[in-house]
């Protein structure tokens, strides 16, 4: 009886949580719609050049910031999607892939000491500490860094299915605790256990859900 009650409570809890999540998403969507309507951003001949320049500056900042560990960059992409809707989704998708591959390339080919020094020069202390923590570890150990506080079995499975683990880690809400997309890709590059081609294909699939949903399902924020 007690077990049945506990199960029904759990089920109720799950239903409640799902309802709360749906409610939060609905509220956030409504809020962003409100902001968008308030901004009333129309692309007209008299402002098209300024909009173009703003988008160019925005995507350069987006790629640069997204590639850095512990630096919030995704918000720029979300802001661009909110402002311009589905029309900007392909550009955001391509820039996200570019940022992830930039971070991976930095991790894979730049000497670890240089990366750490670079982050210290940029005052990115947490990023430098992340790289410093990864430096003495083996490739697989660096990969397991991305699965902080997970069981040995989980780490073992993640090492075996490392590309799936990478895709999940990049998309995991709250991954900013372990460095965000940029940090994950730098450590993945440093680990040496990911090949560039397979990583590229993984990233292309991993970062596609939001832009593709915006584009093909006509979702707007």
């Amino acid at each position: 009886m007690a077990i049945a009650s506990s199960k029904s409570l759990t089920l109720l809890g799950v239903i409640l949580r799902v309802c709360v999540v749906i409610g939060v998403i609905a509220l956030a969507t409504w809020g962003v719609h409100l902001i968008r309507d308030t901004l009333d951003l129309q692309i007209r001949p008299d402002n098209e050049q300024q909009v173009h320049k703003a988008i160019m500056v925005g995507i350069v900042a987006y790629v640069g910031l997204l590639a850095m560990p512990f630096v919030p960059g995704a918000e720029i992409g979300i802001a661009l999607l909110a402002a311009f809707g589905a029309a900007i989704a392909p550009l955001i998708y391509v820039c996200t892939v570019a940022a992830m591959m930039l971070a991976f390339t930095i991790g894979r080919f730049m000497p670890i000491s240089t990366i750490e020094r670079l982050f210290r020069v940029l005052r990115l202390v947490r990023a430098a500490e992340l790289v410093g923590r990864a430096a003495p570890l083996s490739g697989n150990e660096r990969l397991s860094m991305l699965l902080d506080r997970q069981s040995k079995r989980t780490v073992s499975i993640a090492v075996r299915y490392r590309y799936v683990a990478m895709a999940l880690a990049v998309n995991m809400p709250g991954n900013s605790i372990i460095g965000g997309g940029g940090g994950i890709m730098i450590v993945a590059g440093m680990s040496g256990v990911f090949t560039p081609l397979a990583t590229f294909l993984t990233v292309m699939i991993a970062v596609s859900p939001v832009p593709l949903a915006v584009l093909f399902l006509s979702l707007t924020f």
Partner: protein, 158 residues
């Protein structure tokens, strides 16, 4: 050297795939479809200027413009405020006493293409058209619907 080649390969793959993705995912928006017919360079509207008023149905923005015809060419004074389109050739055809004209203006400094299609009946004109901007990452189009009437000639540069 191998590392440099690998970095170059990653960069090339990322940029190449990105460009391909953008070209596939970005749907082109065609310019205004001008009806086919026996269009000819006649200069039938040379020396005339029309004051037109209209709006962009997408944004509700108001259009106030003078369109000028001279020496077989056409110019919108309002469009000149945003880009130095200059004078563009125009063509005409006459159906039941209505002079139909079309002109395509291309901005030399930015990827703007403006297609005009108008019908002139006596001193009145009805205009349809599109202002299309094709950036490498998207295509934006503004529709134009306007009506107007003959105005005194205005001074335009060029």
């Amino acid at each position: 050297m191998t590392q440099i080649l690998q970095v170059a390969a990653i960069a090339a793959a990322t940029l190449g795939t990105g460009a391909a993705t953008l070209s596939v995912m970005n749907e082109d928006v065609p310019d205004f479809a001008v009806p086919e017919g026996d269009w000819a360079t006649t200069g039938a509207l040379d020396g005339r200027t029309f004051q037109i008023y209209g709006e962009d149905p997408g944004s509700g923005a108001v259009l106030e413009d003078d369109i000028v015809f001279r020496n077989g060419t056409f110019q919108s004074t309002d469009c000149e405020n945003y880009c130095n389109f200059g004078w563009s050739d125009y063509q005409t055809k006459t159906i039941d006493g209505v002079i139909h004209f079309t002109s395509t203006a291309i901005c030399p400094d930015a990827p703007h293409t403006v297609v005009w299609y108008g019908r002139v009946t006596g001193d009145e004109v009805v205009i349809d058209g599109t202002w299309t901007t094709r950036r490498w990452y998207w295509t934006n189009q503004i529709e134009v619907h306007a009506t107007g009437s003959v105005a005194p000639s205005v001074d335009v540069a060029g």
